[in-house]
Amino acid sequence: MAPDPKKPAKEKPLTAIVLLDSFDQRFAPILEKSYECFGFIPLANIPMINYTMNWLLRTEIESVMLVATGKSQKYAKLVENEWGSAFEEFSVVICDGSSSLGDCLREIHNRELITDNFLLISNPSSLTSSTLSQQIRDFRKRRVENADNVMTLIYGGCENREKSVIGVNSDGKLVLYPAATSSGLIKVDKVDFYQNAQIRRDVVNTGIALCSRLIVTQFNDNFDFSTMEDVIRELLSKDDILGLNIHVDVLPQNESAYMAKDYDTLLHLNTLLLERWFYPLTPERVEVSRFISVCPRNIYLEEEDFLNTSMSSRIVLSDASVNVSLGIHTKISKTARIYNSSIGSNSEIAENTTISNCIIGKNVKIGKNVEIFGGFIGDNSVILDNSKFPEIIIGNGVKMAEIGENLENSAICSWQVDEDEFEKIVAQKIGEELYLWQLRNGGGFWKISQGKIGINMSNVEENEEEDEDFEEGSDEDFDVDFDDGFDDSTRQFYDEVFESMKGMQSMANQQMNNLILEINSSKLACNVSVDDVAKNVFAAFLALPGMEDLKELLVLIKKWRPLFINYYKSSDSNATARKLEMERKCQIQMLMAIEEKFDKESANFGPKCAKIVHFLYNDADVLDEEAILEWAGSIDSGSKLRELMEPIVKWLQEDDEDEEEEED
């Protein structure tokens, strides 16, 4: 419903939609058998959802809709019990079986729960010190000015740790947004510079968005949208058709806002909270029924009972320790040094241990001379004396033993991963009740940029090396990709096609129609050109396992002929000239794929080249003679491939002449 422009002053307060869960599987090691629900991960020993509710109290929001999956139903009830009375309206929406933000919003749409503009908090760790009053006012003003201003994204004025960039024009309208595969790169056209697009890296996404009802409709219309980014990309790419505008509101420097997306940002957020950047949102003033006192150097002590609280600061930690939150009954040695960490109740830390940037659970025992620089340690875990870890993730109840393994990019848990539920994680047993969890794609749990496991790309396995190259590339001071060459979406397309083919190859009943459908959907998803499709389909085919053997390759070509016919040749005999021209281009791309493969591994592949081309022309009848001749003519004259192709070319030319003669 568009707001009535006649009386903008009398606006109904927005409804807040708060998600209680995160759908990122990288959090599985600390959620499963532990906090279970993302919103209940403690920051400074207080479940993060309580911070969210607390800052919402200071905004104009009067009605809150808490959205949770079926799994965290009981946690949603806990939140309702705690905060229900603080808002005029508080409802819990359980979206059973949802696996993404998109699923949840579709469910909400289907139940017709949204009737007006709303404030979306897509991650319970989205925190801000602001009341957002100015931002909400601006949003309403924009809505009145133009009903097509459908969304305002709230950004914090701080450089983000993923080094992602956005492009904003002078009115605050979002014009450039990075692609799903690389948050640090955006494509800039000349026209963007004419329109005064500002490329900004000094902002951080807060996960807070002011939306009109249309955003939910977008999710509903596109059943494969799972995250907000999908909608943003859709609206930007179809700007000329839909004409909908997204605005970006960067909070002023005296307001803080942040959101945790991975372990790295989670620990950073913990430190920011302990350092009181979000004042008046501070750990001691969040939960009504807990008693936390603040001592100098930002040390937070929790008391079990309010009768014991004293009005004097106690000294429980060494002088060197700063920014620490301690739960009740913690036993910390006076010689331990603790920085920027929160430690759960009943935990013990022995002498000479150094802990920095950690979130430590309850009943954890940490030995002497331990050094941990960054880490997440689950409840009831034990860390041996003299251990040293950089960035570590330890699940619940892990009794650490001496481990020879390299712990980089992995998490340690005391149970085997349920691979049906978390298909992106593999685990290997490394000791008594010790399992090393790793991401299937080889990426790290720690940072999102270390290996994406976005939910919508279930059949994408990213090439880790490639990704790291990207990282290094984007670490450079320039983040804008001017290069139109082998860009990222093509790479993604290639990977997806390769996966689909691999899957098909392993199946007994090989239905080409299904494969074609899969490839087509990948093509749409990655938005690649026809040429790229033609080239990469065959390149992926050549890369399939078992294709080193020529015989097998030829057999498979024959078997998969319908696929190639579909992409390279139409069976339609009276096709138009234009269509033929297209086909020829596609076939040339196919040959280019062969050429590329030859360039890479000429020793192995070289002798087979001519045979494959011949087979494709003669037996499979996929290639046409014009295409082969045109391509062969374009090969670099010094190349060995030209030599190899010489016989075929000659033969074809002879053939041609014969035909001509016959015709004559």
Binding site: N54, L57, R58, E80, N81, G84, S85, A86, S129, T131, G156, G157, C158, E159, N160, R161, D202, L251, Q253, N254, E255, S256, A257, H268, T271, L272, E275, R276, W277, F278, Y279, P280, T282, R285, V288, S289, F291, S293, V294, C295, P296, R297, N298, E303, F306, L307, T309, S310, M311, S312, S313, V322, N323, Y339, N340, S356, N357
Partner: protein, 341 residues
């Protein structure tokens, strides 16, 4: 009401939440009014048989609230005042209402614990207590007015007055406004911290904290607001107040502190640092990316101002020298209640 909680607990929760809902701290008179309203509801809702139970429950709530909001001493002050009122009601009933609790002989004839009063009609006492609480609210309400009324005795023609953070205190504002109504001609310097924006005002000239040193020579009187006054005559003032007072001391300028009676805290705080919350740092959020966890930035909310820097407290009844604060607390609190904290 939410399941699993009693009505009293809900009242407590809502009270605390209402307090925290504010982005800026509401004025102290608003807070004290809220506390009184909260206590009135508690007294009405809770079923107690004896006055001792009533007192115990009041103290219990006070301790809870002070643990949750350790920096709001006003909460405890108001609860203690209410508890004193309850004791007075009991004494009135027993006919020995004129004994002053602080008279030294009192300890000798100290009545045994009020638990003995089984025949006491609790309903009557409750009713009277609610009535005297109502009187207390009237007193708090009129506080601003009675403090302002004294302004014409303190500010004269040709005076140059320095105040700190005028915009945060309504009492200070009405104090100055009252003298202007009386057509006194004087100048006002309003000191504002660097982080705040200048607010234009028709009768004050704004100066920054670093200009205090140069302007203090022209100043004849300094007026400060406070958060809490302790029995030894020291008080908590908004951060920055101490440096103004030190400057004033050096130039022998008298410092007055506006102190409504509900800010007088009856007990000493061994370590005022424990009360001193730090606020958000004044650094732009941009810096947090690099500095978080590496730099310690102090941004305390209050300064503890020693009694030697204070010339007089302006309370609602009269002006009091710091040494007399200890005596003044007798009017509002009962020694046995204070002993509990």
């Amino acid at each position: 009401m939410t399941e699993g909680r009693t009505e009293v607990e809900d009242l407590k929760r809502n009270f605390v939440l209402a307090l925290r809902k504010n982005t800026k701290r509401p004025s102290s008179s608003t807070i004290s009014m809220n506390v009184i309203n909260f206590l009135r509801k508690i007294i009405l809702v809770e079923k107690v048989k004896t006055i001792a139970e009533l007192l115990a429950s009041l103290h219990n709530h006070a301790k809870f609230l002070s643990a949750v909001e350790p920096t709001e001493l006003i909460i405890i002050n108001i609860v203690l005042m209410t508890s004193k009122l309850a004791r007075d009601e009991l004494n009135k009933k027993n006919g020995n209402g004129n004994i002053r609790a602080y008279d030294s002989l009192f300890t000798l004839c100290k009545p045994s614990e009020p638990t003995d009063m089984k025949d006491t009609d609790m309903k009557k006492i409750k009713k009277d207590l609610i009535e005297s609480i109502r009187e207390l609210t009237i007193e708090i309400d009129s506080c601003r007015e009675s403090i302002s009324a004294q302004s014409s005795d303190l500010i004269f023609n040709q005076d140059v007055v320095m105040v700190y953070q005028l915009e945060t205190s309504k009492t200070l504002y009405s104090f100055l406004a009252k003298t202007r109504e009386a057509n006194r001609k004087y100048r006002v310097f309003n000191v504002i911290p660097e982080s705040k924006n200048e607010e234009l005002n028709d009768f004050t000239s704004s100066i920054r904290l670093h200009d205090v040193a140069s302007k203090i020579c022209e100043t004849t009187k300094v007026f400060l607001t406070c958060i809490a006054v302790f029995p030894d005559g020291s008080c908590l003032v908004p951060a920055g107040g101490q440096s103004i007072a030190l400057m004033a001391k050096r130039h022998s300028v008298p410092v007055y502190v506006l102190a409504p009676f509900y800010k007088i805290t009856p007990f000493f705080i061994p370590d005022p640092n424990a009360l001193n919350i730090s606020q958000r740092t004044n650094m732009p959020f941009e810096f947090s990316a690099k500095s978080a966890g590496n730099v310690e930035i102090l941004q305390p909310a209050f300064d503890l101002l020693d009694s030697q820097y204070i010339f007089q407290f302006v309370s609602n009844s009269s002006c009091i020298i710091p040494a007399h604060i200890n005596r003044l607390k007798e009017d509002y609190y009962h020694p046995e209640d204070i002993a509990l904290y």
